[in-house]
Homo-oligomer: 206 residues x 2
């Protein structure tokens, strides 16, 4: 999706509620073990997730265990040459988020909010935390949009962040879950591709 | 909201993204210190939250620190006589959730999902974890409903859980945030009150 001619990795780090496996329609695929873990290619993405190891069970890992699991998976995964590595994080400001801020030197954040002020308050807190630490923020995407309210767009400007665009809330998307080709052809898919192109041509503020 | 003639406490334990303070319109109110913390009464609720101590800043507490903060706040809060203590948890299966399962003997879970299969997968995992530990589940509420799909309702039955009802996604709710009286008069408020009444008359499966 991000840059059709690029090599892209996706690492689902949402230990509290992983979902990219359902979106991508992951079946019985597993990483190959060969001097580390080689992530399988799913629809062109090199894909890693905690679900490879937890399956359908809950993952009751605690704070320090999560950090350790995350660091170990990072250390042993052989991404090889990538243009982009996308890390899917838990909602809010989680332990995993704080770990990444500390561990990955070249990290940049892409903040996704809903149109609700409740979600945006967390986006504001995260922005404040990242700014304190001089971590670059690519911008903000407003997801699950149902009306034309400019509220989040206006507030994004006051934070001195780039408003990258919005994606529409479409309950019909459920029928396309697990089928990336179908997903890309939905309204959400089209909007996301537009935003992706925009991101590639955006210089990140620091 | 829950049981008009009952004494109810609300403890926002969502360290990753607290929001009940915005919903209730919390201003400069703080707990009183007197042999512990006495939670202020906000619209009839005895209200405690991490935001009393973090304000508008992010709360970059780590796993063990979160557990400790949570245990300390529990230990020193003087709820006095309550009929219900409602604990608002982070999304997914978090550290705080696992702490509560371990620490609170009489806990019961009320699971809130969205109509999306992505959210329901987490509800399923949580159900499996709670069932293993013999922790009672009151039932499942389907929030942010936009159509008449029976998908979540049907799946709830296969989990042998009670489907307590659904609440409609209404972007207009934003205008009522911070004003509980106004919130109770919205469609969401009315639906929630109906579900609350149902819960009071429901025997919990264990």
């Amino acid at each position: 999706m991000l840059a059709k001619n690029s090599s892209v990795g996706l690492f689902d780090l949402d230990f509290t509620s992983p979902s990219t496996n359902i979106i991508l329609g992951l079946q019985d695929t597993k990483p190959t073990e060969d001097k580390g873990l080689i992530p399988p290619k799913i629809h062109g993405l090199k894909y890693m997730s905690i679900v490879y190891y937890s399956g359908d069970y809950a993952t009751p890992l605690r704070g320090a265990d999560i950090s350790n699991a995350l660091i170990e998976l990072f250390a042993i995964t052989r991404w090889e040459n990538l243009d982009y590595l996308i890390l899917d994080m838990p909602p809010g400001i989680s332990d995993a988020t704080l770990d990444l801020m500390r561990l990955i030197k070249r990290i940049k954040f892409l903040i996704v909010t809903t149109p609700s002020q409740l979600a945006f308050e967390t986006a504001k807190k995260l922005t404040s935390l990242l700014t304190q630490q001089n971590i670059p923020i690519i911008g903000i995407i407003e997801n699950m949009k149902t009306n034309k309210s400019q509220n989040i767009k206006n507030q994004t400007k006051t934070l001195n962040l780039k408003y990258l665009g919005q994606t529409t809330y479409d309950p019909q998307i459920e029928q396309a879950l697990g089928n990336p080709t179908k997903l890309l052809n939905t309204k959400l898919g089209q909007e996301t591709q537009r935003i992706t192109t925009k991101i590639q041509h955006t210089r990140t503020r620091k």
